[in-house]
């Protein structure tokens, strides 16, 4: 009957990538700006350092992306990261556990915590904010009960993981954590775009009620996203333990905000249903590059640091909106 082979429609499918392209372009713009402004900034290693310094945040933000795509939120990530570093450190340093076993245990612990929160959110119909806030209290509280001191990690496995560089051409290097983080990103992107679970995540974000009426496994998927987030947080904790070689209850305070900010800056909508994992990667890089710009500047006092971080964020976000709007 009525057919529609309208040009506008064909581009419509592609138009949804515009915001993300805009973000990428702006990010490159920021880098170029830094490179012209500060010597040594243009060095390829600076870019890689951003990855090295943010590998754990990237992993945590990946988990957060799943949760936010369903329209939820997970405030517990920072605390779970801290708990993971501390549990790892305690088990290895105080109990003499081998590194890989500790990692396995920590990952299971993170996943179980996430699963517990997901189950409570789904079955008792509670708001994710409050449940994961309680989860945050719980994980942080557990950390304090384990130890209020920070514990150094001397375990051979961890130190090797932390200090073995992965060589790239041109005298460039990254850490093993970066490789792990990128693998996680790839897996997560695959899951989101090429599996039914991934598509159900988007469906729930679009309308949980519709997803339920469409016969999708809402309960399973909702619990799964919190499990994934817990798992990613625990892995983020392991990476942070590689990064700092220490366990500390005060690690990653406020990281949940960084992770949420990265996800949202990357174009994912907080109410769920729209966004891409690649956007999250860009979001993390934006936060990282802002930080790097500021350290390279090195003239800002403590408060000006904060003001300038906010200002750069503002400029970035406003430009992102303007560019995306113009392009559409």
């Amino acid at each position: 009957m009525t057919t529609l082979a309208d040009l506008g429609k064909i581009t419509a499918a592609r138009r949804k990538y515009v915001p993300i392209l805009a973000t990428a372009v702006l990010l490159i713009g920021m880098y170029v700006f830094g490179a012209t402004q500060y010597e040594a900034f243009g060095d390829g290693q600076v870019v890689l350092n951003i990855l090295i310094d943010n590998a754990f945040l990237l992993v945590v933000a990946v988990g957060m992306t799943f949760v936010i795509l369903t329209g939820g939120i997970d405030l517990s990530v920072g605390a779970v990261v801290a708990l993971s570093t501390l549990v790892s450190a305690t088990l290895m340093e105080k109990q003499g556990w081998p590194g890989p076993a500790v990692i396995a245990l920590v990952l299971v612990m993170g996943a179980l915590l996430g699963m517990g929160m997901g189950a409570v959110i789904h079955f008792f119909e509670l708001q994710p904010f409050i449940v994961t806030l309680a989860g945050m209290f719980l994980a942080r509280g557990l950390s304090y009960t384990i130890s209020t001191d920070s514990i150094s990690i001397t375990n051979g496995f961890f130190t090797t993981m932390a200090q073995t560089p992965v060589m790239l051409p041109g005298e460039l290097r990254v850490s093993i954590s970066v490789v792990i983080a990128l693998v996680i990103v790839a897996i997560a992107a695959y899951v989101l775009h090429y599996t039914r679970t991934g598509r159900t995540v988007y469906a729930i974000g679009g309308s949980e009620q519709s997803a339920m009426l469409m016969g999708l496994p809402v309960a399973r998927t909702k619990i799964a996203v919190y499990t994934i987030s817990g798992l990613c947080s625990a892995l983020g904790g392991v990476l942070l333990a590689f990064y700092t070689l220490s366990g500390n209850a005060l690690h990653a305070v406020g990281m949940e905000l960084d992770a949420i900010a990265a996800v949202v800056i990357g174009g994912t909508i907080l109410t769920g249903g729209a966004g891409y994992l690649f956007g999250t990667v860009l979001g993390v890089l934006v936060l990282g590059i802002i930080q790097t710009l500021i350290t390279f500047d090195g003239t800002l006092s403590s408060w000006w640091t904060k003001i300038v971080i906010g200002a750069l964020l503002f400029v970035f976000i406003v430009l992102q909106r303007l560019v995306a709007r113009r392009a559409q």
């Binding site: 500060y38 010597e39 040594a40 060095d43 290693q45 600076v46 890689l48 350092n49 090295i52 310094d53 754990f56 304090y144 209020t148 001191d149 920070s150 514990i151 150094s152 990690i153 001397t154 130190t159 932390a162 200090q163 073995t164 560089p165 005298e171 460039l172 290097r173 990254v174 850490s175 942070l240 990064y243 700092t244 070689l245 220490s246 500390n248 209850a249 005060l250 690690h251 990653a252 305070v253 406020g254 930080q291 790097t292 500021i294 350290t295 390279f296 090195g298 003239t299 800002l300 006092s301 403590s302 408060w303 640091t305 904060k306």
Partner: protein
């Protein structure tokens, strides 16, 4: 150990002694979480200027990750010396090894690190938090030497898990351990702030039938607590003896007003000492492994005398 995560070009090109300009110092500060810290920052900035040292300053906003990032970027920028006040004691080996491979000497300020490999840094300049707690405890032991019966102490701790809180608590507890009559009846975190100090003290005043002494991990919490004590109709410094740590100006004022009984100084003005060290270190001179800042204690009389010159 090998240089772990990349030191980049800096690591590869090795030494940086060729440059002839002023010494560049990369300083990674904890944050600006208290007046004490701000005074510390200001002292460093000002003395760098007078010493003709080019300062690259970075504020980590109380996050270890940020500090590591900053140090890494200092290495990237090939500064001559790196100095930092560690947010926590542990977790510095990787990045300090990178600095070592890049031949950049490191000076620790204010707080120590717990790395067994002392070759990672040239020297430590700062205070000993355990000792500060101990000094407060020692004073109390002396002060209550004549007292008969129990002395009930309440403690306002710093931010849970932070190094000063852990150490001051420990030093104080050690000092009074031998005195069974000295009892810590309540101990709670006041997060180093006046507001929390006041709020917690209000609760203590209601839950504890008898409080003789307040030990606060810093002046600010003590100042907050004073307001709570006054609101409860008691006289701070008289009905309840107060001992605190830091000796910031407001604290000294309260001390000379008789509202605080004793303050252990924790000196933030280590800029001049640091610049001396930086010059020595970059010239390759040897320096002691550990330098403690000059710190005193104040009682009410000494406070009155010192107050006019107090600048922070």
């Amino acid at each position: 150990g090998n240089a772990g995560t990349p030191a980049g070009g800096g690591g590869a090109s090795g030494t940086n002694s060729g440059s002839s300009g002023p010494i560049t110092l990369g300083f990674a500060q904890v944050g600006a979480e208290s007046g004490w810290r701000t005074a510390n920052t200001k002292s460093i900035q000002e003395s760098a200027k007078t010493a003709g040292i080019e300062l690259k300053f970075s504020d980590a906003q109380q996050k270890q990750e940020n500090q590591i990032k900053a140090i890494r970027s200092f290495i990237q920028q090939k500064v001559k010396v790196i100095a930092f006040s560690p947010v926590v004691e542990s977790g510095w080996d990787t990045v300090l090894k990178e600095a070592k491979t890049a031949n950049i000497p490191v000076v620790l300020t204010d707080r120590a690190i717990d790395s067994p490999d002392t070759s990672l840094y040239k020297t430590f300049l700062g205070s000993d938090f355990v000792k500060e707690g101990k000094k407060a405890g020692d004073w109390l032991v002396k002060e209550t030497a004549s007292a008969t019966g129990d002395v009930n102490i309440v403690e306002l701790q710093g931010t849970t898990g932070s190094a000063p809180a852990n150490d001051r608590k420990k030093g104080f507890a050690d000092a009074i351990a031998a005195q069974p009559k000295l009892k810590i009846v309540a101990s709670q975190t006041g997060e180093f702030t006046r507001a929390k100090g006041k709020e917690v003290m209000e609760a203590f005043l209601k839950s504890q039938p008898k409080i003789d002494v307040l030990f606060a991990h810093n002046d600010d919490m003590g100042l907050g607590a004073i307001e709570a004590i006054e609101a409860a109709g008691k006289k701070p410094g008289v009905d309840i003896k107060i001992v605190t740590i830091d000796a910031v100006k407001d604290g000294m004022q309260a001390l000379s007003d008789g509202k605080i009984n004793y303050i252990v100084e924790c000196n933030p003005l280590l800029g001049p000492q640091l610049m001396d060290l930086v010059k020595k270190v970059s010239a390759g001179e040897s320096v002691p492994q550990r330098i403690e800042t000059e710190e005193t204690e104040f009682d009410q009389a000494k406070a009155k005398a010192a107050l006019p010159q107090r600048q922070y």
